[in-house]
Symmetry: C2
């Protein structure tokens, strides 16, 4: 399905105080149900390649709201034709993007994409969690679980914000696509597939867990696998041999020097000057050796590094591979081979220019939802799918969402009162941006 952003026929009227109040009350009225639906989403462990059950839930939720449904499996070959796609190391069989479209009878308002990702990162050793990562417990105003904050609360907020307009007796005057995408945590290919399918709009809102703030700028991310190989021996003569685990560690130390060089350049990058450590190199996974009594012959690690907006993925990757090509010895002087291959993200960072119409609309919505508090913006050193809209379609992407703690960690949680206000803010933003008419 292909949709085209079109200019509104006639701009809808401003949001009246009465309509605003009705929307805010509607969010409150349905909030228990919204929490229940968010819990149900958390109870579907939608880790990578196993998103289907949670996508079924999203599909049904959108369909029951009367949206026009579209669902397709990601196509690795088609994605590979796009420069911003991530490298795919898994099967995409059953890995779908779901989009539900609301179309007004006459398209008079601006169009909008409400985007969110259904995939969650692995829960890690479950015994380290206070409770199961999948039981979606609520305690002292927080909802716990893997993905509670990142970002099932946001996915639910998108839907319930739309509900609030209807419950308030209003209907948006612009076209709205609700996107539930996989692969945000590893490649960005879910959102990219929706763009390649033709889904565009005048603005995008993505309620990632962002501390009730708007993301002004964020980093790009490259994933790669480093493999170091050498010559193994019996430990009885290990001094003469090469230890691939030690060697990998010495190669990572060289990459950390690169990381520090990039961090030292932060003053040259607008919005990153004040961050403590914007460029993080994460050694996320390691695997090496075959046998306790053999000096390990090989070791590999999955790494993630960030890059500033304005630095292309090609430039960053060239710097990484040049550094590795220059490493021919480990710290002990043994000849080593170090090689890196891309394994996921190949993404560039972006900046949302200040003062766009979309941002101004969100600013008004936020003020109304948060008792007059001004919308703050900030820079985040993490990956965001927003880059796909900004870089490849020129669409302003507002990444803005609730307060959370320990995303990607144990006992991840999202604050429910923040989710309530964010939902109100999204609902008001939809009304402001698309315009509303009486139903």
């Amino acid at each position: 399905m292909t949709t085209e952003g079109t200019a509104p026929a006639t701009a809808p009227g401003p949001l009246t105080q009465d309509r605003r109040e009705r929307i805010l009350q509607a969010v409150d009225a349905a909030f228990d149900e919204q929490i229940r639906f968010t819990q149900e989403l958390v109870r579907h462990p939608s880790v990578r390649t196993r998103e289907a059950g949670a996508q079924d839930l999203m599909y049904e939720a959108m369909q029951s709201r009367g949206l026009e449904m579209d669902r397709w499996e990601l196509d690795p070959e088609e994605l590979a034709t796009h420069h911003g796609a991530g490298v795919v190391e898994v099967s995409y069989e059953g890995v779908d993007t779901v989009v539900g479209t609301y179309s007004p009878d006459v398209e008079r308002g601006r169009s909008l994409i409400l985007n969110g990702h259904i995939d969650v990162v692995p829960e890690g050793p479950e015994e380290q969690w206070e409770r199961s990562p999948w039981d979606a417990a609520i305690k002292d105003g927080w909802l716990y679980g893997r993905g509670a904050g990142d970002m099932k609360a946001g996915l639910a907020a998108n839907l319930f914000a739309l509900d609030a307009l209807r419950a308030a007796g209003l209907k948006p005057a612009g076209r709205i696509h609700v996107e539930s995408v996989p692969e945000e945590e590893c490649t960005g290919n879910g959102t990219l597939s929706a763009l390649m399918r033709g889904y565009t709009a005048d603005a995008v809102l993505i309620p990632e867990p962002e501390e009730d703030m708007l993301v002004r700028a964020n980093v790009g991310v490259i994933w790669f696998r480093l493999r170091v190989a050498g010559n193994p021996t019996h430990p009885r003569e290990m001094k003469s041999g090469f230890n691939a685990i030690d060697a990998l560690y010495s190669v990572v130390a060289r990459l950390r020097e690169l990381e520090e060089r990039w961090n030292a350049q932060k003053a040259e990058h607008r919005y990153f000057e004040d961050l403590d450590h914007p460029i993080n190199l994460n050694l996320g996974k390691i695997n090496g050796g075959d046998w306790g009594s053999s000096v390990p012959a090989w070791c590999e690690a999955d790494l993630r590094i960030a890059l500033y907006p304005g630095v292309s993925a090609d430039e960053a990757w060239a710097e990484i591979t040049a550094l590795l090509a220059g490493i021919t010895q480990d710290a002990a002087g043994n000849a080593i081979q170090a090689a890196a291959t891309r394994t996921g993200f190949y993404a560039e960072g972006y900046v949302i220019e200040e003062g766009s119409e979309a941002e101004e609309a969100l600013r008004r919505a936020h003020r109304a939802a948060f008792d007059g508090r001004e919308l703050q913006s900030f820079t985040t050193p993490g990956y965001l799918d927003g880059r796909i809209f900004v870089q490849y379609a020129g669409i302003p992407a507002l990444t803005y969402g609730p307060v959370s703690e320990r995303i990607h960690g144990y006992d991840e949680r999202v604050e429910l009162e923040s989710v309530r206000r964010i939902t109100k803010s999204i609902a008001l933003f939809i009304a402001e941006w698309c315009g509303v008419e009486d139903a």
Copy 2:
């Protein structure tokens, strides 16, 4: 089956020059066939728990020589009752020890065990080998392949040394058990199971690859798995989190301090004073983290450490676990949990006292097989099953075998002329030790 070492009824006569010559010639005459059989053994990839095919070959080879056969599956529960057993983390289904027994009509000579292990360590990444680790190629007088030296050449040498006596028209006057055991590379449980089954003798010979020398002393070995856990986060806030891979590395650094303390004590340990680095801590295998973009929450490593003869496994283990219990923070000050569990070897080192009758007999055999060269002895910082005979049955264990290179490494190889001489030496030793009579 239970056998008991008994004093010879009448000592057999000394080995005459004529008989010696006939034995040496018999080894030469069958040496091509011996190489062929060794190649066949190498072509059976008898890595841990997959020894059955190679054991079938050994069983048939012993049976066809008229030995009385015994074969049994290792029993983890029975083994666990013995203090010197290694911890078992695999299934022992189909993991057998094979013993073939030669019994003279009248037992007039001393008894002997010819021991060898059928298991080999993993081959590692096959592309790093010049040829397949399992094709048993011969080039420039060397036989290549995983296990060629460690120790299929030795297993074959035991059998063909016995053959040489028969071909020379002689029969041993003492009882001989030929043992082909699994689990030498990880627990020692194969040889231990044979001892627990009742196989003992007046001496043991084990043709491990020892550079044509006799092992005077060797280390004990403990295997353990170190696991470090902590609190993972999103890389965007990684400075506040804990990285289990880094933390494991910092714990290993503490263990390396222990390793250096133990090495600094080498002057106190007879036969170890002159070794460069007798105590080796090997980080053989590592595995950690779940996701490139999550700070890793856990990391574990398989380690192997050596201990001097005279140091009990309990003492060494207590020192290791006390050190780990004292580690509560990583280098960055994050609270960590470090725990170790035993995963295999729990073995003590041993010393063969100089001047035993068995050693003197081997000395004479070696001189005759090696053109008058004196037998050298040395200390090896690797594990040997000999400890089981020495420590738990008081049997002198002669570990003595051919020249090899790169055991546990790529392109492992054994020198065939060395194998020929070692086979001659073993054959002469059998004749010397057990005595021979005309067949």
